[in-house]
């Protein structure tokens, strides 16, 4: 099995400590366990499709699995992209079916699943949308549509986070995510070379 390079940015650690300090250890563990399920879903799907996972990056906006997907078909890549959300959904269903002993874990998996399916790149939903459109109408059309949907979605999501922060009178640990989404929106509007 090839080596997987794991890299975590300093900002990730800061956010981790910040989150734990303001929300406590239990919510942190809940989120991390749901994120682990999510990444395991991606990892298993990539391995199943024969793609090589080269790295695992942890950043302030989440975790990213680096892999070489260039040889995957649209269907396989779509499967790999949606596998993370699928794993979260499966974990939530299994937990609920087992009498729901950890409702927070169930909820965290569902929220992570729903969040990742939002049509905003680089979230899974945005990438899935791009793949679907590229599959149906060609890569150029897919890229064009995904870009604008992603820009609008990121802006809407950033506004939603701002509203949540304003409404809750704080929750400033959402700030990095909000700025990240704004940056995504700008980047998608400007377009990457």
């Amino acid at each position: 099995m090839a080596r997987v390079r794991v890299k975590a940015s300093p900002a990730f650690y800061i956010l981790l400590v910040w989150f734990a300090a303001v929300n406590g250890l239990r919510p942190l563990l809940t989120v991390l366990s749901a994120a682990l399920v999510h990444e395991c879903g991606h990892f298993a799907a990539l391995r199943r499709c024969g793609a090589r996972v080269t790295g695992f990056r942890l950043g302030v906006c989440g975790a990213v699995l680096d892999s070489n997907c260039s040889r995957l078909s649209y269907a396989d890549e779509l499967f790999c992209v949606l596998a993370g959300a699928g794993a979260n959904l499966l974990a939530a269903v299994l937990c609920a079916a087992a009498g729901n002993p950890y409702p927070a874990f169930t909820g965290a998996n569902l929220i992570l699943c729903a969040f990742n399916l939002l049509p905003v790149r680089p979230l899974d939903g945005g990438r899935a949308l791009e793949l679907l459109l590229s599959w149906a109408a060609g890569p150029a059309a897919g890229e064009y549509a995904a870009r604008w949907v992603s820009a609008a979605g990121a802006l809407a999501l950033a506004s939603g986070l701002a509203y949540v922060m304003h409404g809750s009178g704080g929750s400033l640990w959402l700030l990095p995510a909000m700025f990240g989404l704004l940056a995504v929106s700008v980047r998608e509007c400007v377009g990457r070379a």
């Binding site: 303001v22 929300n23 406590g24 239990r26 919510p27 809940t30 989120v31 939530a92 937990c95 609920a96 729901n100 950890y102 409702p103 927070a104 874990f105 169930t106 909820g107 965290a108 569902l110 929220i111 949540v164 409404g167 809750s168 009178g169 704080g170 929750s171 400033l172 640990w173």
Partner: protein
Amino acid sequence: MTTVHRYGKRPAQHRHKRRQRQFWQFMICGTVFVALVAAKLYSPRHAATLRRAISQAMDRNMDIQEVFASVGRTFAGENAPAEGLREVWNAVFLPSDTDAETGQTVTETLSGLISETLSGDAAEPPAGDVPENVPQTSSENVPQTSSGDAPQVRSGDTSESPDTLTRHQWTETFGNSTAFTSLSEPWPETSGAAVIPEPSSDSSASDDTRPEASSDDTRPEGQASFLYTGQNLPQNVGMEQVLLNFDYQCPVHGEMTSGFGYRKHPIDGVERFHYGVDIAAETGTDIVCFADGVVTATGESTSFGKYCTVEHGGGFTTLYAHCNRVTATSGATVHKGDKLAEVGATGQATGPHLHFALQREGVYLNPVYYLAG
């Protein structure tokens, strides 16, 4: 001539872009730093306000664990979707993540969809406001109880801070239904482990339910002893006794173990403001509704444990916390004396008791005035 890197990158260009990015990051950080220093130098008052606002925003957080749990319960079919949605809404926008008992950051859910946030000054009194530093205000400087219906401030009361005056002005808006009690009374007449009597007769608006002052000055162990003024009171706290325009009764009968005001927290030992009263009773004892109203929230939090809140009209809301079981359902109309919950020790509690808090339009009032029959 540009040397092409073997991975196709141009190191020189890459370095240039990186330096450019670092330059702009440095410039932005430097500008913010200089602006903050300038603001602190030229307008320390605004800088302090800004610092306090940021500090408060840092303290306030949604109850993320409760959000997850609500979604999980709804998904598992334990909650109706509407109930789940309401719980999520409450956990995000009206979190009760910190108990009023602990005096830490609190965002109360005492009035349904109205959020009343207590934090900053309310949660942690400023350095000058800690009891040890509170100047022992003479009784002349403290507003005295007016005997008439109309609120009055003693004429000699000229040394009050603007905060105190503002609070009085606020109280005056209550009109004839408001009367002052002495703010110099750190612990109302029911000092020590006062026993809440059985309700011999329910109070009404026309009754003068204010208990008689007692000379007994013994206080429960850990109860802070100092004078309350507008300066050392947290925000959103009123020491006035407001006459209620509806019938009410004591929600549970037992021994009052902790009163309204500063006290040493029984768990962490830190002196903090206690925003309600604690009435100890055996686990499972019925907690009945204080007055007619509508149950605006039921839930569970790490600090309050299982709790429910009831809105009574006129801006009054009550909180019943640390319950063993909440039997009332959110949205239900309840009447005075109806069972709401059972006494327990859920959340941050050292034993079975009811934490009972009373608010009027976001201002915490001392419930003890309304507990004695």
